[in-house]
């Protein structure tokens, strides 16, 4: 059956499904591939219309070779899945040209399934999923159309395949919920040429400006139970211990894994789930003092967490954190030296610090002094003037304008200058509360930097000098504070939308964001929810329960499908033609001339003709008319009308009004 020729309807469906499968890939494939595939489709369409002829073997071979070389040349430096997808697309595009037999169509359609599915490697938005669903329907319809050997209406296979796909959806949902998820079988990676913006492990004031401008989502957090105050949301990501005179970084080897020995259980614990966007970095932001964290993450001595591999996919982590102002953990000796060290330079700043220390002599007084100093003529700005070589002195004494990085850096230098260990923490502060789905959305513009200073009794205490200068930056979401700053969001195309104060637009935005959040949490990151959900649904997961959970809905859906099919078993209503014969038979039953079971209509008419020679011609007409309708293709309305007239004439031989009415009845 595979060498059956495709019908014209089927061919159109094949071409449509190729276009539909290609479309989402057109955005990332080299343009020439899209062009070649469209050319192939156009060519086949011209053959369909009878304008062109199918290409010769040589032309086809040439095209295949050229396209293969083209793909290899286009993806010289890339590789991995992109090149595979490109080859698939080129392959099924070229196959379209020789689409003629059912076998060719099967190859094209199976590849189309793969191509549609792989579009999810490039985009996983709700829109992409809706489109892929549409594409799957089209490809399935095309598959059905190859199995119909008569010419049908164009929409006929669509109608039937949609009806057949509907019961597959509940089954898919069951499989999706219950099928255990396995870890990757081998290492794969999507090649991303452009690194995403994110925090980096160095900070020279100026770097953070770039981040602040991006409205990209960094992560989302939903709390189970109580939710901390906006001002307490300090998401610690990276701790920078070393100052090189201008910028902050971590010198030396990466921090080892660490298990805290001194476990002072914080009083205020919060449980939350954090969905981290792909950052291409190792760090994982977390609230102050993590108490429990997923095993795949490493805790470091500075109480930050990092992932063993770079975060290349959207990941979801359950955490418990204590929200505290000080991290009461032991200090190591090398930390002590690192967090006190100041290179030469910035002498004016150091002098200033020593003068204040002489005046106050207590750490608290000293910090109050710094705070006081910042209140005099300092401004928070995203577009600070450039700083000279002595950047800290320059900032403290001349420009007095900057953003969190400037304030944090200067404060840490001042502290170190008087012998108080201090370090810089970068991360995010705050977040946007979504009231519909109850979670915080943290964007890249929420990136923040602050200081931690060590005191013997308290441990590492958080100091946020930015909050002293611009308290609103911490109390309200960043977009509210900063929306008047012209640098803010100037990179974002959506800026007008994002910073709109219009209540209605805000509401819509929140709704869309809530939908997105649910999508991320329950679909894209379902494997993190699966265990919990199944336990809640089944009350404990065992292989037996899982099998039952899988099989039960399967049998129910299949039973319903079968029942619906069997329900069609009820006797079909007679079509109008048969009704007329029944009418004939009931009429002559009075004379004992009803139709016998198994007697064909023509035999019956012959019999009637013999018994009623007067009406023989009518019976012959009925017999002939019936045969013509029954064994022709479908009911020709005109023939049915003629048959009806003949039956009416026989059954109401005497004529009259009733007969005439019946003609139209």
């Amino acid at each position: 059956m595979n060498d059956l020729q495709l019908t014209r309807t089927a061919l159109l469906w094949q071409l449509l499904s190729v276009v539909v499968a290609l479309l989402p890939h057109a955005f990332h494939l080299p343009n020439w591939i899209t062009f070649v595939v469209l050319l192939c489709i156009a060519w086949r369409l011209m053959v369909y219309l009878g304008r062109w002829s199918l290409p010769s073997k040589w032309v086809k071979t040439g095209l295949v070779l050229a396209a293969g070389v083209g793909v290899l040349a286009s993806y010289k430096q890339g590789g991995g899945i992109s090149i595979t997808v490109a080859l698939l697309v080129v392959g099924f595009g070229l196959k379209v040209i020789e689409l003629y037999h059912r076998r060719d169509a099967l190859i094209v359609l199976y590849v189309a399934y793969l191509v549609v599915a792989t579009s999810f490697l490039f985009s996983q938005s709700v829109g992409a999923a809706v489109y892929a669903l549409f594409a799957l329907i089209i490809v399935t319809t095309a598959l059905m159309s190859t199995n119909i050997s008569r010419e049908t209406r164009f929409t006929y296979p669509l109608k039937r395949s949609v009806l057949m796909l509907i019961p597959a959806f509940p089954l898919m949902v069951v499989l999706f919920i219950a099928m255990p998820r396995f870890g990757p079988l081998w290492e794969v990676g999507l090649d991303k040429s452009a690194a995403k913006t994110g925090l980096s492990d160095t900070m020279t004031p100026g770097d953070i400006t770039r981040l602040t401008r991006s409205a990209e989502v960094a992560f989302r957090v939903s709390f189970s139970g109580s939710v901390p105050d906006q001002t307490q949301l300090y998401w610690r990501a990276i701790v920078l211990n070393d100052f090189d005179g201008r910028g902050w970084l971590n010198d030396g080897k990466p921090l080892p894994k660490f298990t805290p020995t001194k476990r002072a259980e914080p009083e205020r614990l919060f449980r939350y789930e954090l969905i981290l966007e792909a950052s291409q970095q190792h760090y994982v932001p977390v609230l102050d003092y993590p108490v429990s964290w997923p095993r795949e993450l490493n805790l470091h001595r500075d109480m930050t967490l990092s992932s063993g591999t770079k975060v290349v996919n959207r990941e979801q982590y359950p955490f418990t954190s204590g929200v505290v102002n000080n991290l009461d953990v032991e200090r190591e000796l090398d930390d002590f030296e690192r967090t006190l060290y100041l290179p030469a330079g910035n002498e004016k700043a150091k002098q200033l610090a020593r003068r204040w220390w002489a005046e106050t002599e207590t750490p608290d007084g000293f910090i109050a002094k710094i705070q006081q100093y910042y209140h005099q003529g300092f401004h928070y700005s995203l577009t600070p003037p450039p700083l000279g070589d002595e950047s800290v002195s320059d900032f403290l004494l001349n420009t007095k304008t900057g953003f969190c990085g400037h304030f944090a850096s200067a404060t840490a230098v001042l502290l170190r200058a008087v012998g108080i260990p201090a370090r810089i923490v970068t991360g995010y502060q705050g977040g946007e509360w979504n009231p519909y789905e109850n979670y915080f959305l943290v964007r890249q513009y929420d990136a923040h930097a602050w200081v931690e200073a060590w005191f013997p009794e308290k441990g590492w205490v958080r100091l946020d000098p930015t909050a002293w200068v611009a308290p609103s930056r911490v109390e309200a979401p960043a977009d509210e504070t900063l929306s008047t700053d012209r640098a803010f969001l100037q990179d974002s195309a959506l800026s007008a939308w994002n910073i709109s104060n219009n209540k209605w637009i805000m509401q819509v935005r929140h709704r869309i964001e809530a939908l997105n959040y649910g999508w991320h949490r329950w679909v894209l990151n379902y494997h993190h929810q699966q265990q919990g959900l199944l336990e809640r649904l089944l009350g404990g997961v065992s292989p037996f329960k899982l099998a039952l959970f899988l099989l039960l809905p399967f049998s129910v859906v299949i039973a319903i499908t079968v029942a619906l099919s069997l329900n069609a078993r009820k006797v079909a209503p007679l079509n109008p033609v048969d009704k007329l014969i029944v009418r004939l038979s009931t009429h002559f039953a009075k004379e004992g001339l009803e139709r016998q079971t198994g007697e064909t209509v023509s035999d019956y008419c012959d019999r009637l003709a013999r018994h009623r020679p007067d009406d023989a011609s009518h019976f012959m007409q009925i017999s002939a008319g019936y045969e013509r309708i029954r064994h022709g293709q479908g009911n020709d309305p005109e023939l049915v009308v003629q048959l009806r007239q003949a039956v009416v004439r026989c059954t109401n031989a005497r004529g009259g009004l009733f007969a005439r009415l019946c003609w139209w009845g």
Partner: protein, 325 residues
């Protein structure tokens, strides 16, 4: 050696399949007699599903998981869809057309659904024959399907088992059933023009028979089935007097006997072919003809029924007993 080893198993399977094979003039397809198995395309589809599942696992992509689950679910449902595209059909033998050796024998079948489901792209084919025929049942629940089988030798032609199969809707599975329909066609010997039998001659305009052509009209008789169409009294029929046949005087005298002994120089098959030819010729010219074979004879007459009787005798003459069944 191997074959001998498997022979008992093969026998059991053959017997089991045969026991499930419906027989008769009319057969309804149901669970008991429908077989179903994936096609090559079905295995390929399964491979596509598995490849997608692997991609989903390796890229930790839940949406690709979703696609592969959807395709797997559709595949499972297709087992039912394919089965329901066959079950509930009733195949009945309607009639077998008669033909001459070398022609295609025509077999008319009737397929009918006992429900309102649509049946699409069902294929009917006799075992060992090429071609076959697709049919569908939509709003009309019944359809006449004609299959052709090449007639290779005279006698009764019983076609092989009827295979009724479908891969609709997605070509992933094939559902099929073997049906032994009680239907056979009579294959007449191949007509071959030989010399005229000695008992009659050919006149100038090619008409056969004796000089005396008494075709005087003598009256009307009641119509008897088998009367030649040329003898029906159409005028009277048009007047509404029913079917009557015209009688002619002198027809009794023009009898031609197609006699076995007349072509003694020919072989059996050649003789039968020549007799077939002349029987058709006589019928064509409305000349009464009788058949005389060893052990059988048919009295002279004309008409399609008579021709069929004559040709059937010729077809079955010394044919093997098994062919008569």
């Amino acid at each position: 050696m191997l074959r001998a080893l498997f022979q008992p198993i093969t026998d059991v399977v053959t017997r089991w399949v045969a026991s499930r094979r419906p027989k008769g003039r009319s057969v309804e397809l149901k669970q008991k007699n429908i077989f179903i198995f994936p096609t090559v395309a079905g295995w390929a589809y399964l491979t596509v599903c598995l490849v997608l599942y692997l991609v989903a696992i390796n890229y930790q992509n839940n949406l690709i998981h979703g696609v592969s689950f959807l395709l797997i679910a559709l595949g499972v449902l297709t087992i039912h869809y394919t089965f329901f595209n066959l079950s509930g059909l009733t195949v009945s033998a309607v009639k077998a057309g008669h033909c001459y050796v070398g022609e295609m024998a025509e077999f008319s079948l009737n397929v009918e659904a006992n429900n309102l489901r649509h049946y699409e792209n069902v294929h009917l084919c006799f075992r060992g024959e090429e071609g076959g025929q697709y049919f569908y049942l939509g709003a009309t629940r019944e359809r006449r399907v004609t299959l052709y089988v090449k007639a290779r030798k005279r006698g009764y032609l019983t076609p092989g088992l009827l295979k009724i199969e479908t891969v609709f809707p997605f070509g992933l599975l094939r559902a099929w059933s073997w049906v032994a329909l009680d239907l056979s066609a009579t294959v007449y010997p191949k007509p071959h023009k030989g010399r005229l039998p000695a008992t009659f001659n050919e006149d100038v305009d090619g008409r056969l028979g004796n000089e005396n052509k008494g075709d005087d009209f003598s009256g009307l008789d009641a119509y008897r089935p088998g009367t030649s169409l040329r003898h029906i009294a159409w005028k009277q029929y048009a007047q509404g007097r029913g079917l009557l046949s015209k009688n002619y005087v002198g027809q009794e005298s023009q009898k031609i006997w197609l006699s076995w002994e007349a072509w003694s120089e020919l072989s059996t098959e050649a003789r039968l072919s020549v007799m077939t030819y002349w029987a058709r010729e006589c019928e064509h010219q409305q000349q009464e003809y009788g058949l005389s074979l060893p052990h059988t004879s048919i009295k002279p007459a004309t008409g399609p029924d008579h021709l069929h009787r004559v040709l059937t005798e010729l077809a079955l003459f010394r044919a093997k007993d098994s062919d008569r069944e």
